[in-house]
Symmetry: C2
Subunit: 349 residues, 2 copies
Amino acid sequence: MSEQPVRARLVDVAERAGVSKATVSKVLNGRQDLNVRPETRRRVHEAAEALGYRPHSGARALAGASTHALALLVPALDNPTYVTIARGAYQRSRELGYLSLLAEDFDGQEADESFNDLVQEGRVDGLLIASARPGHPLLKALRASPVPHVFVNRSVEGSERNVTMDVARSSVTALDHLHSLGHRAVGHIAGPPGITPSDTRKEAFLRHAGELGLSAAPVASGDFTEDGGGSAALELLRPVDADGHPPVTALYTSSLAQAMGAMAAIRSLGLRVPEDVSVIGNDDLPVAAHLHPPLTTVAMPLYELGTAAVDALVAAIEGAPLRDVVVPTEPRLVLRSSTAGPAEPGGTP
Amino acid sequence: MSEQPVRARLVDVAERAGVSKATVSKVLNGRQDLNVRPETRRRVHEAAEALGYRPHSGARALAGASTHALALLVPALDNPTYVTIARGAYQRSRELGYLSLLAEDFDGQEADESFNDLVQEGRVDGLLIASARPGHPLLKALRASPVPHVFVNRSVEGSERNVTMDVARSSVTALDHLHSLGHRAVGHIAGPPGITPSDTRKEAFLRHAGELGLSAAPVASGDFTEDGGGSAALELLRPVDADGHPPVTALYTSSLAQAMGAMAAIRSLGLRVPEDVSVIGNDDLPVAAHLHPPLTTVAMPLYELGTAAVDALVAAIEGAPLRDVVVPTEPRLVLRSSTAGPAEPGGTP
DNA sequence: AAGTTCAAGTCAACCGGTTTCCTCAGACGG
DNA sequence: CCGTCTGAGGAAACCGGTTGACTTGAACTT
């Protein structure tokens, strides 16, 4: 029954604690430029607690203080990669006393709207942007109205506010695995060109393929979707030779959806996974274990990417200078059944 | 260059249009209790446009008006079902001049926090709740502080504010399909007990199985996940008889993830989909087409569920009385390759 | 001609916080 | 004994909107 039917306000807390609004505000915001007796401090906290006081975010924002809210813009919510990042961001936000709002930014379609709704209307203090790409409308808006913001996963060249993972390393990990199984002709299904993690992964793939001395390392681009992966896979697997062997014996894809599309494409050519073609995908999401066959992946620190991005953004909001950050956790190989040694040359008909 | 570096405020618009703040506010909010000359009205709109004016949501909320924001609470964002609902909600919100915020409510874990952050701190005008279940902490909080809210998909008995789909019909559609293929023993993988769409689907399944005179219609429950579907499938498929035939020749699952788990379980018993066991899943999400084999589904109007929920909630916020709503679009069978006629009795070894 | 009505806006209080500048009492130094 | 300093907290302005009461000039009645 200590529950009030109506919201408790700052004055209510002040009255109950026997002090003024000003004092309550200062105490609850933990300002150290202030002298209050421990006893008073205690009374204030007690009153706030008892009344279940929650500051009105609008009033706070109006008074020139922080809204204690961030927004995360992701390009596609049906891509579990972003959901994982979002979870990390949400959790870390909480820990830092911020609320993180999630918005889908269909590759720029909604960017301006979201920007207006969230930033211009003063709902958030900063932006986590996972949907950046060259020419994105948001980039212009951000220059006009310089809200604190960081770029997550997809970086923006020269912005000095990118929070990313070691994606180059993921290509190396994937290739090393396939190489150690005996594969010498490996194809890579990249994401759309121009998107940084995609480009970086591709360059690292080509470089390391050279270092390993692979006999073939073709690359095809496609959307991060099943269809994108499917058509890219067909590009890489054709033409099959007289014995029915495709030009590569393994595929390394940029997303899980692409891996699914690639596996379907492989089957459509009458080939099997992994007997004829091995497949390894990026990002170890729960579904990977439930595909047929279960997919070998390179696990990326997505959750951690989310937390790191929030750390950087909150620091920026609180006045620290921004700089590029790469989360330290290394990509990790998760072995399942979609990769195996290649059929011996001239082997099974 | 019409871009101002600083936010335009109401006074700025008023000044530019040569009227008072009050007039601008009334004009922009389209209040009809007001007399303004069309000419004045035009000038106001023009000025607002030119300055790129956006009302500060906090100021607005503080002044006792609406924040023009809603929140959607979903139990799991990695379930694309909810993402689809969220998209419908988001889109419809926009059309109605609201912003819809998405929050993950891990089956009640985060409910109180979210409630505090969003409702108590005055960030939103209403709640769309897709994560309801009996005993959910939110239900108590909602009674204490009666914010406008509706329950989406998962209904709350007697609340008179449920927005749902015709899930009973989806069971009928699925069963009719399997029956027409010749299946007479069909198992159903239900969701966790106590969650309404799950219970309703199950009851409809049993009723219609009776109407069709099926020889067997066992039900097993499991989480909406792959693992949940997998273990439920094993329950239903065991024991296999001397010929290796399981007790049912088809499975109808409550979620796509369950269907994936079920297909893996079927294979683990050395059986094939659809030759030995057919599988049909609920909700036609894009991935369904890319599974192996492509999954036959019952398409539910998820997007529309999202839009209908927003319609109901906004109506409630604007003062209309609430009532239960069922979206009119009927479940639709989407035929793919995971369903086929059962093997003839005593057929393939 | 004076009173009434109405259209077209304006005034100013208010929402719930934050922050700057003050006050006030007691301690302390000279 | 008086001036000053300092610790502890208060008064009030302000943020940017909304809203109901109020003003004003013109037209319309009687």
